[in-house]
């Protein structure tokens, strides 16, 4: 019973968030830009190759997503799973959970301060989404970024 109530409350919250973020993004109706901010909550690097950062290493980063104009609490989360291809260059897949669906982006990242990924697709509202995700670092500690989704359709 308690689990059912929790589920119902979570569903209502998601619906509310979907409604709120829907004011800013309207990908289902065509091109749109979604601007949110992120705060890194964990970064794990798994040293799989030679000791130290190098090709083959895997890095998993988790972020909380915010839209401070709507609410102070996180509106979603993102997980980056990156594999280093050189000492600095990594190939990443990002899964960004937003209230009205999930967006998946991927590509190479050289500088974590500023990078651009291709939007590969999504679920629900962002089904078959295309476009770019640009991230720009705004603070180093804690690591905060602006995430800018430019969806083309």
């Amino acid at each position: 019973m308690t689990r059912l109530m929790c589920f119902t409350a979570a569903a209502a919250g998601v619906a509310a968030l979907a409604l709120l973020t829907g004011w800013e993004s309207d990908a289902s109706t065509g091109p749109a830009t979604i601007r949110i901010t992120s705060r890194e909550i964990s970064r794990i690097r798994i040293d799989l190759g030679r000791p130290g950062r190098g090709p083959g290493d895997t890095e998993i980063v988790r972020l909380n997503l915010f839209n401070k104009r709507i609410k102070r609490a996180p509106i979603g989360q993102a997980e980056y799973v990156c594999t280093f291809t050189t000492r600095r260059l990594r190939s990443c897949t990002a899964s960004i959970s937003l209230p009205r669906g999930r967006i998946v982006a991927g590509g190479s990242i050289q500088f974590t301060e500023l990078y651009e990924l291709a939007v590969l697709g999504g679920t629900r509202l962002y089904d078959d989404a295309r476009g770019t995700l640009t991230a720009i670092r705004t603070t180093r500690r804690p690591r905060r970024d602006i995430l800018l989704f430019r969806l083309t359709g």
Binding site: F111, E113, L114, E116, T134, I136, R137, L148
Partner: protein, 496 residues
């Protein structure tokens, strides 16, 4: 309906002209005012464009400062950014104030502000920080691309704003041009209308004043040349009409005066002719008895005549002297009557009595005549001079006897009605030919009496009619040649 006076018409025309001029100037002022507004709007558009350019310059400074710092990592090269960043809010505020009256432009200006703010917040400031920490990252292609995207958006906003303002400026310029053209058209139209009105006014004045004055001058010349029948048309404005009427009155008066003069002239000529005739008649009438007197006195003085002849000659002299005396008295009476010097008594008298007395007086004068009196009513009261009225009746009786040489009955009738007393004397004499009847009451007119040996001066009827008319009455007669005449007099009935 009385025609409006010329001065009223001129004042009305002047008022209309003034109103037209005032209306034209009002339209012109309005057009110039609109033109000023259009120019103000055009100037305002230039101000807006200038403000847009100012903001654009600051955005370029932002970008240049950012790029300079990112490329060189030299803080000195960042100063344009810092300066522009400080100035931008004020400039954007100024721009928004300038376009505040245009909601669409204000919206565009706000979108530009948002784009610039996003550029600064989401790109420029982070990039500067990244450039400090990791310059290669700030110089990466991604950074370039992101910067390009932001600046493209800002440029698009600038383009929208400039294009819209350009359209507004163009519309304002076109409006100013239209207003300018309209003002010129209005000014020219007003000028032409005023000129036309002035010409029409001049034509009207020429028609209303010059033409009537010219006509009056021509008519005056004709009048001066003796054509008194000339008249002016009395239409036209008040004063002109009055002038024409006055001229026509003057011409009519002159014409009447001339006719009077001509009549008087005719009368004078007639009078002169009659005077000459009078002198001739008088000299003739006086000469005849005077010659008798002189002739018989000469006989009496120079010849030794018998007592009987002396007696007969003396009787003739006496008769002719009396005849002269009567003639002179008649002359004097006519003269006095014509001059109005004869005074009449105004006493109540009975014309019946007067008639009776005169009939008695004349009844013994001719044995061949019978005087028959018929007084239908008595009394026949009139107010007048008994001696003069007796003279009139006596004259009529005398004529009736004289002009019926074969004798007969002379009938005298006296009657009255509600207004008049009428006395008529009918004879059975020779009558008066119709062609001579008009002259019966003329002085010295005797018809064929002179040739027929009928005595008389030809003044009796003249005196009689003058006396009757002086009493407020009238005389008339009817006559048929060979059958006789009837002479009547009417006098106003006096209250009993």
């Amino acid at each position: 309906m009385k025609s409006a006076s010329l001065s009223a018409r001129m004042i009305a025309a002047s008022v209309v002209l003034s109103l037209l001029v005032a209306a034209s100037f009002a339209v012109l002022i309005s057009a110039v005012s609109t033109l000023d507004d259009a120019r103000d709007r055009e100037a305002h558009s230039k101000d807006v464009t200038s403000a847009i350019v100012g903001v654009e310059k600051l955005v370029i400074d932002l970008e240049a400062g950012l790029r300079g710092f990112v490329v060189s990592n030299n803080l000195r090269l960042r100063s344009p950014y810092t300066q522009a960043h400080a100035e931008l809010p004020g400039r954007l505020d100024a721009l928004e104030r300038l376009v505040a009256d245009d909601a669409a432009q204000l919206g565009r200006a706000r979108k530009l502000r948002t784009a610039i703010q996003i550029y600064v917040r989401d790109y420029a400031n982070p990039i500067l920080q990244i450039a400090e920490e990791n310059p290669p990252a700030a110089r990466s292609l991604v950074a370039d691309e992101e910067g390009r995207r932001h600046t493209q958006l800002i440029n698009a906003r600038f383009s929208d704003l400039r294009a819209a303002e350009g359209t507004v400026a163009k519309e304002n310029a076109a409006s100013a041009k239209t207003q300018s053209r309209r003002a010129i058209i209005v000014a020219i139209s007003a000028l032409v209308a005023c000129a036309l009105l002035i010409v029409l006014f001049g034509l009207y004045l020429a028609r209303s004043i010059a033409r009537p004055v010219r006509a009056a001058a021509t008519a005056s010349s004709r009048l001066a040349q003796g054509d008194l029948s000339v008249r002016l048309a009395e239409d036209g404005p008040g004063e002109v009409s009055e002038l024409s009427k006055a001229f026509n009155r003057m011409a009519s008066e002159l014409e009447r005066s001339r006719e009077d003069l001509e009549t008087q002239n005719v009368r004078l000529r007639e009078s002169e002719r009659r005077k000459s005739e009078l002198v001739t008649i008088v000299s003739h009438e006086l000469r005849t008895p005077l010659a008798s007197v002189l002739g018989f006195t000469s006989l009496l003085l120079n010849r030794d005549l018998e007592q009987r002849d002396q007696q007969r000659y003396l009787e003739i002299v006496d008769l002719q002297a009396r005849r002269l005396s009567v003639l002179l008295n008649d002359f004097l009476d006519v003269e006095n009557l014509e001059e109005g010097r004869l005074e009449f008594a105004r006493q109540l008298l009975d014309m019946g009595t007067v008639v009776d007395e005169q009939v008695q007086l004349f009844s013994g004068q001719s044995s061949r005549h019978t005087l028959d009196v018929e007084l239908q009513e008595k009394p026949l009261p009139v107010r007048g001079d008994p001696n003069r009225l007796a003279q009139v009746v006596g004259n009529l009786l005398s004529n009736a006897i004289k002009y019926s040489p074969e004798g007969g009955t002379v009938k005298v009738v006296g009657e009255r009605d509600e207004e008049f007393v009428r006395v008529s004397v009918r004879d059975q004499g020779v009558g008066i030919p119709e062609e001579l009847q008009k002259r019966v009451f003329g002085k010295f007119f005797r018809g064929d009496a002179g040739a027929s040996g009928i005595p008389g001066s030809g003044l009796g009827l003249t005196i009689a009619r003058s006396v009757v008319e002086a009493h407020g009455g009238r005389m008339s007669f009817k006559s048929v040649v060979g059958k006789g005449s009837v002479f009547s007099l009417e006098l106003p009935l006096a209250a009993d």
